[in-house]
């Protein structure tokens, strides 16, 4: 097995009675990679994370985390991964520090006090460490939960909806923090419904709905589904310009929308100069040229609706 692959799934499946929650998932995640797991509610994202975190057993298939086999070396897996569960799951009666102490002892963290201080300071909770968690805002709880996830320095992280319910400022802070975790060389699987967040953070994305619908980088997914689209902003709207460039074989589509000429094609870096020249010769005044970036949400909806 490739050592850089810290998470490997091979046909991983989970059935609850007659319901097939996860069906033959296969992919791998490398060190220093953030892997997004997208899908509608009930798609099997949390079930997948629970299987990978050795919380529940698979019905079929295999998975290895840090080289440990799921269902066979579960205690080793639990020791070496960090799971941020969907709900923070903290003890409200206890202080932030006491919550972390408890988990640090559970994970047998060597330098407990240093680790607790480090993460509480990093996440801006140090000053409130003695306060009961029950008095904390949702954002503070989420920060504390992520501190708990990291205390034992796991090199594999499973983050289930890490920014769920956070205000924009807290969500932004959390995203920055997750990006920093990646640079520490950890392998991270992140479940989210926030497609913008997945687009910004994830190196690769898997869209699942029980089974795997698509897997690639966000950019590649866009291209696979929508191809590439270049927009020429012209000084005037004229249907003639669309006709002129439709003659080229590499042009897949050309439409005039107001004063914008929207052209679908592969490899625009290669073809744009020629198109610009032809358009100028035909009398077009080009104000600027840009590539239309499809939103990940459109990609996601297309994939999920196709499956429906």
């Amino acid at each position: 097995m490739d050592n850089s692959k810290m998470i490997v799934l091979e046909g991983l499946s989970k059935a609850f009675g007659q319901v097939q929650a996860v069906d033959k998932l296969s992919f791998s995640v490398q060190a220093g990679e953030i892997f997004g797991l997208l899908g509608p509610n009930g798609a099997g994202k949390t079930t997948t994370i629970r299987m990978l975190g050795a919380l529940i057993g698979p019905s079929a298939g295999d998975a290895w985390i840090n080289g440990y086999r799921v269902g066979h070396q579960d205690q080793d897996i639990r020791r070496s991964v960090g799971i941020l569960t969907e709900a923070p799951g903290l003890y409200d009666q206890l202080s932030a520090e006491r919550n972390l102490e408890f988990y640090a002892q559970m994970y047998a963290v060597g330098d407990m006090d240093t680790q607790i201080e480090r993460y509480l300071k990093m996440l801006g909770l140090w000053e409130r460490r003695h306060e009961a968690v029950g008095t904390f805002s949702k954002g503070m709880r989420q920060k504390l939960a992520i501190a708990r996830t990291l205390l034992h320095e796991p090199n594999v992280l499973f983050l289930d909806e890490p920014t769920s319910g956070l205000d924009p400022q807290a969500a932004r802070m959390m995203r920055g923090f997750i990006a920093d975790l990646k640079s520490d060389g950890r392998a991270i699987i992140m479940c989210t419904h926030n497609l913008d967040e997945a687009d910004r953070l994830c190196d690769r994305i898997a869209v699942i709905k029980g089974s795997l619908l698509a897997l690639d980088t966000p950019t590649a997914l866009r291209r696979k589904l929508f191809g590439r689209t270049v927009v020429f902003h012209l000084s005037e709207s004229d249907g003639r310009f669309a006709e002129v460039i439709s003659r080229f074989e590499f042009v897949q589509s050309a439409d005039m929308v107001d004063n914008k000429l929207v052209v679908g094609m592969d490899e625009p870096e290669q073809h744009n100069p020629e198109l610009i020249r032809v358009l100028v010769e035909a009398g077009a005044e080009i104000q600027f040229v840009g590539e239309l970036r499809q939103r990940l949400e459109d990609v996601y909806l297309q994939l999920v609706n196709q499956e429906n």
Partner: protein
């Protein structure tokens, strides 16, 4: 062992933040300390026991235990021995509520999943939960027992009767059978807690398991059952086996997957 102790300390830190909980743990043992002392004091103040109750009213088997005591002392011994039985039972009755909340409570507050994600084994988890519930009740009962002994000596009973209370029979009942009963009770309660989805249901079902103990108390008071050294010994052996069996069974019954995926 470290994880068990960590879990116990967390449970205590969490539960005893609430002073009312502390009160509920201490209330029953203290009540069973005060009540017999009051009875003894009132009885002594109002005259000789043997004047009010005939010796023939006592269970015949009990009279054999009054060896060396006069009629009054025997009557005193009968009264205090009834409460000695309660001191044996209290460690089982008190922690059942806490134990029945232990697993289902973590589930409803959504703290169970992060806990199960740690490298804690099911046996460690259940042992920690059971000990966290039973130790305070056992300690509170023992402390109450010592208070009772001091109070009995100061308030009413004769040195002869007091000596009888330090008989190995009662010391075994309180210091061996009591904790074993507590463990049996909390094991059942923790088992129920890991199988139901509502803390109230767990408490209600667990409370049913106290009924046999009440039967034992009533049986002893009415003379139907006579607690002697032999019964205490057999109870201790039986409970030891039962505790191991219950723990093994509870560990088997604890289905992480079911708890995480089917409970809402």
């Amino acid at each position: 062992m470290k994880k068990i102790w960590t879990l116990i300390r967390k449970e205590w830190a969490e539960v005893f933040k609430n002073r009312f909980v502390l009160f509920t743990v201490a209330f029953l043992p203290l009540l069973f300390t005060a009540l017999p002392l009051i009875i003894l004091y009132v009885s002594k103040s109002s005259g000789d026991f043997s004047d009010a109750i005939a010796m023939s009213d006592l269970p015949p088997q009990f009279l054999d235990m009054c060896d060396g005591l006069d009629a009054s002392g025997c009557m005193q011994y009968f009264i205090v021995s009834q409460f000695m039985l309660l001191f044996m039972m209290v460690p089982m009755i008190v922690p059942i509520t806490f134990a029945s909340y232990s697993i289902v409570g973590e589930k409803t507050t959504r703290t169970l999943e992060p806990l199960l994600a740690t490298p804690i084994t099911t046996l460690e988890l259940l042992t920690g939960k059971a000990l966290a519930a039973s130790i305070p009740a056992v300690v509170a009962t023992w402390l109450s027992f010592f208070l009772y002994m001091i109070g009995a000596r100061l308030l009413a009973v004769s040195p002869g009767v007091l000596g009888k209370l330090f008989d190995p029979l009662w010391l075994s009942a309180i210091f061996v059978v009591g904790p074993l009963l507590a463990l049996a009770g909390v094991s059942i309660a923790v088992m129920i807690s890991s199988r139901v989805t509502d803390p109230r249901v767990a408490e209600q079902i667990s409370a049913i398991f106290v009924l046999p103990l009440i039967g034992l108390f009533v049986g002893q008071s009415t003379g139907l059952i006579f607690i002697n050294e032999q019964i205490i010994l057999w109870m201790a052996i039986g409970l030891l086996v039962l505790d191991f069996g219950l723990f093994a069974f509870a560990t088997q019954l604890f289905q992480r997957e079911t708890i995480l995926t089917r409970w809402k």
